[in-house]
Amino acid sequence: MQDRIRNFSIIAHIDHGKSTLADRLMQMTGALTGRDMKEQFLDKMDLEREKGITIKLQPVRLEYKAKDGETYILNLIDTPGHVDFTYEVSRSLASCEGALLVVDASQGIEAQTLANVYMAMDLDLEIIGVVNKIDLPGAEPEKVKEEMENVLGIDRAEIISISAKLGEGIEEVLEAIIKKVPAPIGDIKAPLKALIFDSYFDPYKGAISYIRVVDGEIHKGDMIKMMSTGMEFEIAELGILSPSETEVETIRAGEVGYLAAGIKNVGDTKVGDTITLATNSAHEPVPGYKEIQPMVYCGLFPLENNDFERLRDSLEKLKLNDASLFYEPEASDALGFGFRCGFLGLLHLEIVKERLEREYDLDLLATSPSVVYKIHLTDGSDMYVQNPNHWPDVQNIEKITEPYVDASIMVPDDYIGAVMELCQEKRGNFVTMEYLTPLRVLLSYKLPLSEILYDFFDTLKSRTRGYASLDYELTGYEESDLVKLDIMLNGEIVDALSFIVHEERSYFQGRAVVEKLRKIIPRQMYEVAIQAAVGNKIIARESVKAMRKDVLAKCYGGDITRKKKLLEKQKEGKKRMKQIGQVEIPKDAFMSVLNIDED
């Protein structure tokens, strides 16, 4: 049975056509007929479609009648294409024996792709090279193949040229999957081992786990055990995805499917965990499980104070479906009650905030994101600080450390200077430089995570005309001279605007933030003084002049209605403001503080 199964992923950079290829594979194997085919079926959430990125994995089972006359079951396990979700990518890859590496014929390999291919190689996956978009005028498939050969050692003769858009070369891809990807070799007699590579929350069935059965078999009604926690559940529903959920009685070693077991919370079915049977358990889990830790924190506050409970409920519901989301109540002098939330990265933050606003109809204010600092105190203890307002007194600090990443940046060699300059500005330490091809370079830097969080990627893209690609991996903590920068409005510290900054750059940052706030805080009845301070020392000051004019000079019979509408609009505008003491601040000010234009 297992010799007719092929489990594979698609590795591709954003926009290199992964979702389109997946659609074609489904179409070709009849899993999806042209009529009910919405473009890019696998990207389920609206947000994913809008942002053109895949956030959540959606596995699908295809049946393909190959040229050898046999019918094969192909399980396609899609992977997210963003660095925030690297761990989930690794678990998807761990569920497969092979991967399609899809590279855009006009773009070449990107850093993110490279990182994922290395990950797949580490997991011993068979890599099938695919060059996509050969129909584009700027396509250079031969050049890209050469690059794939040089960089990754994939034999260029075996790389398949396709146009997923036009449906060209799809059959060749399917045949290559059959021929090259090894069949799974699980032991059907061994105790059950099933790897959870994704989960989501269904309001009727509870948490649904997507699983790859590695050894043994699993049946509806089995009592199962989560190996990381020991929690036990009875399987209420078992099924495969073809591509919609279809119930089955049994899933055997080598196969992919889903299960529902009345699990109340996706946190109890953790990605990367191994499921076994409650009796006759496996001894060792599938290797590679990690507890996911948030990398970035920010405060989320309801714009209307009485929406606090609604925000709590909404976060609770989101958390059901997103085990990596962390939150705890936070009180701010400026913003009232809200939540300190932890995320995998900025994209994750943005998605959560947008979903809260869109799906739960909340008006939210996000404070500037912060990484987790580790501070050694003079009393010998350590503390982790992810909220600038918990920053300890200077006299109690022995040493401050902050998270660092190893960043890989791929770029045409024309832009080496520009990239190095940027990394320098961002406190980066050069590690290595490697020519991948005579014209493409892989630069490695050690960089503080906080420096690449905000605008690093955008700046990198703009300084390299969009050619650079970036990947990074958290490596650990390094000592840094950091200080807390406070922002004061009319002499009062606004806690929600405080942030941590490198001491050497505190003047520059303080000035830039104050200048930015001057531009975005509208004139008010009284002059507003904006100051930046480190400790007791004021390092920058600006002011917003008092409002002098807000009048409709003319208002006569013919235009009363129109003038009234202007006043209504003005009232609406007030709702986008947050009152802090005597000062009204646009709600996006809090997030934009660190997004300062450096040029």
Binding site: V551, L552, A553, Y556, G557, D559, T561, L567, K571
Partner: protein, 386 residues
């Protein structure tokens, strides 16, 4: 709910034609095309007035106001035919104020005499500035010399009720020039001055130039200074301010405008004219040819209902209009009229605005402070909605 049916009405006649459109104007107006078109338009007006009068025959007409466009392009006979049809079909109060907007250089002695004979007793002259450079920027069709000539003519024929419209905040205008304009204006003996801050809609040619940064508007601080100095200058010359932008000698307020700001009802005739009847404001749709064709067939021209207000909205409407008047809102009268307690029903907007020294309660009136005039939107928006 007070729908104003017991009140006297104002009549507004819209004359949409101009010699040419000014660069800052966003009113409904068209360049005059042919005298034939104007004739037809006036005929249609007569028909419309007759048609509507049957509905409102029990109410008195307190004022008649000709606005535009440039109504002073009406011929003497055309004007008197309109006045006659109003007099024949409505009950008019004895001392009715009949007012017309006029542009310098559009009035001849004969025409003005005909207007006066037909009952015109007030002229509002679009002077705007006493600097030819400024008039040019505003693309006005007249120059300063023509202003003097026209005012001489008005005085010569014995019409004393004269308003002069002036604009301040013109790009490039100095405070000195603005005060000069005011000084010139009052030296010509008007009984009423309207001084308007230039506020440009983006749709106007001048507004576009500002949007494209070809022309810079003045700083808010300078505009405020112009406003304050303008107010002081006029008050010290025995004009009384009665609205944010309007000043008059005793007894010479514009009655039509008072109807608007007291939230009283008015009938509008002609294309682009707005009526306020009961709890609705509605607009006569803008196509002149349609308007003429409908009325030629004896049908009412299409209207658009701009707003239908519930009781609360009528109250808010009355507040934001009433607060434009310097005397403000007479609390007892207002409470009685709408059967409310404004001080408790609008406690929060009143409290917040008075705290900011923009609004005050004085001798039973709720009114803007002097500081509040130029910041009035900061008060008015608080009274709207919710």
């Amino acid at each position: 709910m007070d729908l104003g049916f017991e009140k006297d009405l104002g009549v507004y006649i819209h004359f949409p034609f101009c010699i040419k459109k000014c660069s800052y104007c966003d009113f409904f107006s068209l360049p005059i095309s042919s005298s034939e078109m104007v004739d037809k338009y006036v005929d249609s007006l007569l028909t419309e007035i007759k048609m509507q009068s049957s509905i409102f025959k029990d109410q008195q007409i307190q004022t008649v106001y000709f606005g535009g466009g440039t109504p002073s392009l009406l011929g003497g006979k055309q004007f008197s035919s309109i006045m006659n049809v109003i007099a024949d079909n409505f009950k008019l109060v004895d001392n009715i104020q009949v007012s017309m907007e006029a542009n310098p250089a559009t009035i001849t002695e004969n025409k003005l005499r005909a207007y006066l004979d037909a009952g015109l007793n007030r002229i509002s002259l679009g002077v705007q500035s006493f600097s030819d450079i400024e008039l040019k920027l505003l693309t006005r069709t007249h120059d300063v010399k023509q202003t003097y000539m026209t005012i001489d003519l008005i005085h010569k024929l014995g019409l004393d009720n004269l308003n002069l419209d002036l604009i301040y905040g013109i790009p490039g205008q100095s405070i000195h020039q603005w005060l000069y304009n005011l000084e010139k204006a009052i030296s010509l003996g008007p009984t009423h001055i309207s001084m308007y801050l230039l506020q440009l809609e983006p749709s106007t040619p001048l507004g576009q130039k500002v949007a494209n940064k070809e022309i810079l508007m003045l700083e808010d601080e300078i505009e405020l200074d112009m406003y304050n100095r303008g107010c002081n200058f006029l008050v010290s010359n025995r004009f009384k301010q009665y609205e944010i932008s309007n000043f008059s000698k005793d007894g010479y307020q514009c009655q039509q405008n008072l109807i608007y700001w007291q939230a009283n009802r008015y009938l509008g005739f002609g294309t682009g004219a707005v009526s306020f009847i009961g709890n609705q404001r509605c607009l006569n749709k803008l196509q002149i040819v349609d308007y003429i064709n409908y009325l030629a067939r004896g049908e009412r021209a299409p209207i658009e209902i701009l707003e239908t207000m519930n009781e609360e909205q009528l109250i808010q409407d009355a507040i934001i209009l009433g607060l434009r008047l310097t005397e403000g809102i007479e609390i007892i009268k207002f409470n009685k009229k709408f059967n409310i307690d404004i001080l408790s029903d609008y406690k929060i907007p009143i409290k917040n605005s008075t705290k900011q020294n923009l609004l005050k309660i004085e001798n039973g009136f709720l009114k803007l402070t002097n500081k509040g005039y130029f910041l009035s939107n900061q008060v008015l928006w608080r009274f709207i909605g919710d």
